[in-house]
Symmetry: D4
Subunit: 251 residues, 8 copies
Amino acid sequence: MNEETIKALLESVQQGSCSPAEALLQLKDLPYEDLGFARLDHHRGLRTGQSEVIFCQGKQPEHIISILNHLGAKAKNVLATRLDPESAEKILPHFPSAHYDAQARCLLLRPLEDPTISGKILIMTAGTADLPVAQEAWLTARYMGHEVDTLFDVGVAGIHRLLGQRELMEKAEVLIVVAGMEGALASVVGGLVEQPVIAVPTSVGYGAHFQGLAALLSMLNSCASGIGVVNIDNGFGAASLASAIVRRISR
Amino acid sequence: MNEETIKALLESVQQGSCSPAEALLQLKDLPYEDLGFARLDHHRGLRTGQSEVIFCQGKQPEHIISILNHLGAKAKNVLATRLDPESAEKILPHFPSAHYDAQARCLLLRPLEDPTISGKILIMTAGTADLPVAQEAWLTARYMGHEVDTLFDVGVAGIHRLLGQRELMEKAEVLIVVAGMEGALASVVGGLVEQPVIAVPTSVGYGAHFQGLAALLSMLNSCASGIGVVNIDNGFGAASLASAIVRRISR
Amino acid sequence: MNEETIKALLESVQQGSCSPAEALLQLKDLPYEDLGFARLDHHRGLRTGQSEVIFCQGKQPEHIISILNHLGAKAKNVLATRLDPESAEKILPHFPSAHYDAQARCLLLRPLEDPTISGKILIMTAGTADLPVAQEAWLTARYMGHEVDTLFDVGVAGIHRLLGQRELMEKAEVLIVVAGMEGALASVVGGLVEQPVIAVPTSVGYGAHFQGLAALLSMLNSCASGIGVVNIDNGFGAASLASAIVRRISR
Amino acid sequence: MNEETIKALLESVQQGSCSPAEALLQLKDLPYEDLGFARLDHHRGLRTGQSEVIFCQGKQPEHIISILNHLGAKAKNVLATRLDPESAEKILPHFPSAHYDAQARCLLLRPLEDPTISGKILIMTAGTADLPVAQEAWLTARYMGHEVDTLFDVGVAGIHRLLGQRELMEKAEVLIVVAGMEGALASVVGGLVEQPVIAVPTSVGYGAHFQGLAALLSMLNSCASGIGVVNIDNGFGAASLASAIVRRISR
Amino acid sequence: MNEETIKALLESVQQGSCSPAEALLQLKDLPYEDLGFARLDHHRGLRTGQSEVIFCQGKQPEHIISILNHLGAKAKNVLATRLDPESAEKILPHFPSAHYDAQARCLLLRPLEDPTISGKILIMTAGTADLPVAQEAWLTARYMGHEVDTLFDVGVAGIHRLLGQRELMEKAEVLIVVAGMEGALASVVGGLVEQPVIAVPTSVGYGAHFQGLAALLSMLNSCASGIGVVNIDNGFGAASLASAIVRRISR
Amino acid sequence: MNEETIKALLESVQQGSCSPAEALLQLKDLPYEDLGFARLDHHRGLRTGQSEVIFCQGKQPEHIISILNHLGAKAKNVLATRLDPESAEKILPHFPSAHYDAQARCLLLRPLEDPTISGKILIMTAGTADLPVAQEAWLTARYMGHEVDTLFDVGVAGIHRLLGQRELMEKAEVLIVVAGMEGALASVVGGLVEQPVIAVPTSVGYGAHFQGLAALLSMLNSCASGIGVVNIDNGFGAASLASAIVRRISR
Amino acid sequence: MNEETIKALLESVQQGSCSPAEALLQLKDLPYEDLGFARLDHHRGLRTGQSEVIFCQGKQPEHIISILNHLGAKAKNVLATRLDPESAEKILPHFPSAHYDAQARCLLLRPLEDPTISGKILIMTAGTADLPVAQEAWLTARYMGHEVDTLFDVGVAGIHRLLGQRELMEKAEVLIVVAGMEGALASVVGGLVEQPVIAVPTSVGYGAHFQGLAALLSMLNSCASGIGVVNIDNGFGAASLASAIVRRISR
Amino acid sequence: MNEETIKALLESVQQGSCSPAEALLQLKDLPYEDLGFARLDHHRGLRTGQSEVIFCQGKQPEHIISILNHLGAKAKNVLATRLDPESAEKILPHFPSAHYDAQARCLLLRPLEDPTISGKILIMTAGTADLPVAQEAWLTARYMGHEVDTLFDVGVAGIHRLLGQRELMEKAEVLIVVAGMEGALASVVGGLVEQPVIAVPTSVGYGAHFQGLAALLSMLNSCASGIGVVNIDNGFGAASLASAIVRRISR
C-alpha cells in the first residue's frame, strides 16, 4: 500500500473504473488477517523485509497452532521463538514437518534451506553457558537466509583464545557478540574490528548480575564505539538487526 | 602490525637483515604514542576503520590541548566530543582553525570536508529537545565522511508527521532515531522500514524518566525487531555504528 | 451515613425520640461487617459507587469462601480477582452458580447481566500475550454494568493495524490500552483520540523489561497527554477507573 | 483530515475538479507547519480536542519564541510549561500580553478567559510544598476552559482536615490529588468518593523518597481502585486527563 | 559479664582466690556455646533482655533440631521463626510439646504462657492478606510475655473502619501497623495517636509493588512523625521493638 | 473533638441549648486554621502529643513567616526544620527571639527551655560527618522537652571506642544511632543493649552508597532485633519517635 | 608462550632450524583445546597460577562430562562449582573417584590432597545460613593447596563471640568474611586486623535485602579500609583472591 | 591493650602494685582521644597496621584543622582524603609544610618520604579521565610506604596497548585497576596475571553508567577470578588493601 499503489488507485477513480466508496474501502483495507485474538501482518515482509516471526511467550498453545496454520499457508517457512518445551510438545503433533530446537527454544515449521544471501554473520560467545542465546541467533539468521559462522567460548579471561581468531572475524560482514558475566567481550571485539558489532547481554551470572543487568550496562557503556546493543538474551533481535545490515550490504 | 608485516619481519630475520633481538623489539613496539597521561592509538584507523576521537569528559583542558596537537599532527582532522563550553574557551585560542559547536558540545580541529562515502544516514528526533544529541550524531557522521539527512520533531503523539515522510526514510541506508520521553518513535520507525535502525535514548524527560532510563528500557524492549540501542544521549556512538554499517555497504 | 442521615439523627435527638447515648452508638456504628479476619465494607457501594470486589491474592480459600458467602447474601453479584486455579478448585464446589475464568483468573458468583450503563469502553491490546490482563479488565467492566468493545493485537510494529480502526476508537467513551514490551501503543493511541486513555502496562517481556517496569515507565513518560496509568497487569484497576468515568458521563 | 474529508476529496477527483496528482499532494500534506527544528501540529485541536502546549524543558529560548509566534498566530491562546525563570526573562519582552507564573513555571501568551466548559475539577494537595505542581495543573485546566476548585494542605497526618471537606469533594466531576512524601492522600480520597481520581506524585521528600519514586509507587499500588496516575510532578498531564474526562461529561 | 562481675573477679585476684591465669581465662570465656556450625548466645537474655530466637531460613533441619535441643535445655521456651512447612515436618517429631503455626511459619518449643508484662501491644493490618506477618508479630510478642490486641482489615480505602476503633487504639502502649499495597495505614494511624508506631511493610501487592518496596518506601516517607520502620514482612522484628519499648515502660 | 466532647454536644442538643444545625456545624468545624495555602493543625498537640513542627523544604519564605506567626501566637515555641540558610536569612529579621542552627538547618522561634520530661535519650553517631543529622535530632528532642546525651564518632572500625561507653548507653531510655557508610553501628549497638534503638541512616558516603541507600538497607536488615528505622537523614523523625517512647515511659 | 619462548623461536628461525611459516604457525597456535562448544585453557595454570575451574551454571550435563574428561586427562585434579544436585546425579556415575558436596554445590574429580602452600586462610561467617557459601570457599581454597581455618556464626549482634577469637584471626594471612543480612561483620573484622580482608556478601536475608544487595552495598561502603569485595554468594571468587595473595606471600 | 598487657595488669593487681579499681579504670581506658566531635584512634596503627587517615567529606574545615593538629602531634605524617579545594584553601595556611594535590583532592601534612616497604604496587587506568582516582591511590600507597608503578590509558578498546606491557605487570606484587565506562580492563588484566588484582570502578561515564554502577557491576561479575572490588572512585580503599597485602608479603 505504497505511494505508487495509492496513485494507481486514484487514477482508477479518476477514470471511473473504481468508485470513491470502493477506493475508500481499499484505502482502509490493510493487508492483515484478523484471527480475533491476533492480527497477522502478511504485509510485513514487503514493509520491513522480514517475515512474521511468532513470539510465543505468554501465548496459549492453541493460539500458536492457529497462527502457525495461517502464516504457514502463505509463507515459505515460519519461525516461532521463546517456545517452552511443554507448549512445544502440544504443538509438534500438528505439524509433522516442524522441528523444535530445545536449546534455542525455537520451532521451525519446515526445514531450513541453504543460505540465499551472501555476506557472513559471525556469532561469538564468551562462555558455553551463552550457547542457548547464540543458538536462537543462529537459527534466526539462517531462517532469514544468511550464512553464519560461529566462535564459541572466547571470553576475555583467556584473551589469546580470541586474538588467535582474527582471521575468522575479518571474514564476517557483521559480528554478534553474546556474553553474560561482565560482558567485556563486546568491548574487546569492538576494539579489534572495523565491522558493525551487535552485542547481546545474557542473563548468565548470579548475585550482582541481576539477571543480565550487569552485562547490559557494561555493553551500553563500552569504551569501543560502533556497538549496537539489544535486550538481554535477545538472540532473535540481534540476528534480525544483523540480517537488516547484511541484506543492505548484499543488495 | 598484521599477519603480513609479521611474516615479512620473520623473513628478514631468516635472511639475517634483522637480528632476533631487533625483531623482538619490533614485535613489542606497537603503534601508539605515550604522552604519559595518555596513549594515543594511531593504529586505530587501520584496525577499526575509524580515526581516534577525543572523549573530553573528565579530561583537563591542558591534556586535551596536548592530545589535539599530537593527533592533529598525524591525522587529517580530529573530533573532540563531550567538551563543555568552559574548557572549549581555554582550548580554542590554541587552534585557530578549530570550530566549537556549543549545542553538540563538539570541537572540530579543521573544517568539515564534503562527504566521501556514498549511502545516506538519516537522523530523526522525536522532539526539539533531542536536538543536541542529534547534532552530536550529525557532526560525527559528517566527520567520518558520510552524507546525512535529518528529520526532526516527528514524535508519535502526532503520528501523521512521521507517516508523511516515508520517502525520506526510504532513501537512507541506516536510520538513527533519537528520542527521549517514552522513546516510542524507535518502535514505530522500526515497524515501517527494512533498513537497520539505531536507537538513541535521550535524557529528555523528568520524574519517572530517571535521566533517560525510561527511554532506554523502552527501546531495548521494542516490539519491532532489527533495532540496535546505544547509551543514553550517545549521539557519537550511534553515528559510529551507522558509519561502520554504511562503510560496509559502500565498499 | 452521610450528612442527611446525621442531621436526621440529630433531629431525632432534639425531638427526644433518640437518646444521646443511642445517637453516639449510631454515630460510631459504621456499616461494615466484622468477620474477625476481615471487615466487609457494605457501605462502599454508597460511598464510591462500586461494589466490593475480593482481591484474592494472599487470602486463604476458606476466608474467600466466607467472604463470598457474606457479600453474596447482600449483593446482586460478587467478583473475585487474582484467584489462582488451585484456590478456585477448592472454592467452586461451594457456589454452583459461580463461574471461573482461568485466563483472567477471576471468579463471578453469578452470571453476568446485560450492560445497564450507556457509553462504551474500548479495551485494546498491543499483543496476544496481553490478553489475560485485558480479560480481567473486560470482566470487571462488564460486572460493573458497562458495554465493552475490544481491539486486540494492534501493536505499533505494524501501525496500519491500528490506523485502520479509527472508527471503533471514536465510538468509545474511554479507551483502555493494555501493552507490555515498550508499551508504545498508549502514546500512539493518546495522540490519535480526544477521549480519556487509561494505560495498563503488562509484565509481558523479558530481560530489561524487568517484569513490566519498562512498559510502566514508558507509559508514565508518554509524549501524549491525557493518559492515566495504573499498576502493572492491573486490568481490574483500569476497568474501575473507566467505570468511574463512564458512570459520570452517563448520569 | 478525517474520513469525511477523504471521501470529499475522492469525490472531487471523480468529478474531475481535482487531479490525482493534486489529491495525492493533499493526502500527503498534513496540517503541520515545519519550522526546521520543530513541526507544529495545528491539527491537534481537531484530533485530540486539545490545543498544542509547548513543553519548554530542553528547548532554546529563541526556539520557544519562534514557536510562540507561529502558534500564537493561529490559536486563541498558547500555554508554555516547564519554562525556567531565566528563559522566561528572555522571552517575555517579545510578548507584551504574556504572563509568567514563576511558581508553576508556566507562561500564558494571553490572559485567561472565563471557563466555558461546565463541570468542576477539584485540585487537592497533601502539603504546601506540593503547590507548584498543583498550580501547573490549575493553570492548565483553566487554560483548557474548565472551572477549578482547590483544597490545599489536607494530608493524611491530620485526616480531619480532609474529612471536613466532603461537600467540596462531592461537587467535583474529577479530583486531582497532588501529593509527595508517601502519597497516601490519593488512597484516602479514592476510598471516599465515587468520581474518577487522578493522582500526581510529587518530588517533595528526601532520602528514601528518591525524587518522587516513593509517592509514585505508593499511588500505583493504592488499595483504592479507580485511580489513574501520571508522571512525577506532572501537573500538566493530570489536568489534561481531567480535561478529557470533563469534556466528555459535558458534551 | 558486666562491670560488677569484672570488679568481683579482680577483687578475687587481689585476694589470691583466683590466679591471673584463671582470671584471664574467665575474661575470655564468654557465655556462648559452640556447636561447630553455630554459636549459641545464652548471654543474650542478660544483655538485651531478649531470649535467643532461631531464624530458620537457610538452616538445615538437623541444625535446627540441634539448636532447639541446646537452647531448650537452658531456656523456658524457644521460638523458631521463618520455618517452612517441609522443615517443620522433619523437626516436629523430635519435640512432642512443640507447636507449629503454619500461617506465621513459626514453631514454639513449649506452649505459650500467660502474659507477664503489663502494657498492651496493638497489632493492626490493612488487609487480610497481611495476616501471616501479623501472626508472626503476635506470636513473638506473646512469646516475649506481652498482652496483645488485634485489629485486622482496617485499610484506608474504607477509612471509617479505622476511625471507629479509636478506643482500642488508645488502650495500647505501642501500635504495630502491618500493611502491604501502598502502606498508607501507617501514616493515618501515626496521625491519630500519640503512642509510638511501628510500621511493617508487607510484600502483599504485585507489579510496581516490587515485593514490598512500595510499602517500605511509603512508610519511610510517612508525613506522620514518630514512626519506626522494620524490614519487609518482618513481624518478628516489629514485635521485638515493641517488646523493648513496653518492657521499658513497665519497669 | 473526642468522644466526651461529642457526647456533651449531643446532650446540649437534647437539652435544647444547641440546635441540630449548630451541632452539625460544630461537628464539621474542626480545629485547624486555614491560611489558604496551608491548614494549621492546632489540634495536633492533643491528638498525637506533639506540637506542630514546620517542615520548610519546598515552602516559600513568606509562607514560612506566615505559618510561624500563626503557630507562634498559640504555641509556647515553634520548631522549623529543613530550613536552608538563604531562607533563614530572609525569615530571621521578622523574629528577633528566634535562633537558627546552621548545622542542623533548624530554626527555633524562642529559646529552648530546660527539659521537663524525665528519661534520657542518647544520640550516637558513627562519624563526625553524621553530626548535622544528629544535631537535628538533638534540637528536636530538646524542643520536645527531653534530656539528651550524646556519643559521637564511635563507628565500628574502632569498636573499642564504642565498647568503652557501655555505662552511658545503659543510662538511656532510648538510643538513636545515626550512621552513614555501611551503617553497621546500629547492629552492634542493637546487640549490646536492651532498650529500644532507633536507627537513622545518613547520606554520608559516596559511590555505591547511593545517597544513603546502603546505610538504609543495612539498618533494615540488621541481624540485631528491636531496631526501628527512619528515613535517610531524618534526625527529626528519629527524635519524634524517641519522644513518643519516652513520654510513654515517663507517664 | 612468554617472552623467552618467543625469543627462542626467533633464534631457531635465525639459525634456520625453523622456517618463518612454521614460526608463524606457532605464534598463532595458542595452547587451548577446542571442544566445539568450549575452549579449554590448559595454559591458564602458567599464566595466572590457577587451574581451570568449571563454572557449571547454565552448562548441559553432557558438556560438563566432556570438559571433566578433557581437563582431567591433563590436570591433577579438577573442581566444578555451581553444580546443582540434578546435574551432579547425572555426572557422578561417569567419575567413580569424584565427590559431590551438596551444601557447597561443588564436585571434585579426585580426593583433596594435603595443603602444599604455607600460610593460613581464615573463613568466617556471620550466621549458620552463610555456611554453603563458606563451604564453597573452603573447598576452593583447599583445592588450590591452602591451609584453611574456620570461624562460624560470629555475627555482630553478639560481638563478644567475635572478640573472643582474636588469636585465631591473628594466625591467618588473609581473612574471608562471609555474611548476609547487613554484612556488618566485614567492617568489624576490618577494624580489628591488619591482614587483608575479603568480604563475601551472601543472599541470606529477605525483604529489603534484595537477594544480597543490602550486604553487598554495606561491604562496599565499609568504614574500615583494606577490604576487597567479591560478588554475592561468590565463595569461589573469594578463595581465588585469597589464594593469589597467599601464594604471593609464600613464594 | 592486647592479651599480654592485660596479663601484666592482672599480675600487678595480684602483686598489690595496682588496686582493682585502678585496674578497672585501665581496662576501660582505651587509647583514643576525645575531641568532643571526634574520637581519634591513636591505637589503630598497632591494631590494623595503618595510620589514621582523615576522610574529610562532610567535615567542617575547623574540625579538620583540629584533627590534623592532634594527629600530627603524635604521627610522623597525616593524610587527608576527599578534601575539596574550598576547604583546602582554608586549611592550608595553618600547616606550612602541608601539600594539597588538587587532582587527587588529598592533603599531606608533611612531604612524602622514600618507600620503606619492598614489593611494588602497579596502578593502571583504562583512560585518562580515571587519573584523579588513580592519583588518590598513588598518594595513599606512597604515604603508606610503598613503591608504586603506573600504567595509564591502557583500556581494552586498544588491547595491544595493554599486551605490550606484560613485563611491567609481572614486576608488581599487586595490581590496582582503575576503570570507568564498562570496566572491562579488570577482567582482561585478571586473566593475564597471577598476582592479586584490586579493581576500582570509577564514575567516569554517562547515561546508563549511573555514576559508576555499570563499572561496579561489571567488575563484581568479572569472568576472571581473583579480583577484589572496592567502592566506586575509592582509590584510597584500593591502596589500603594493596598495602595490607604487600606488608604481609614483605614481612
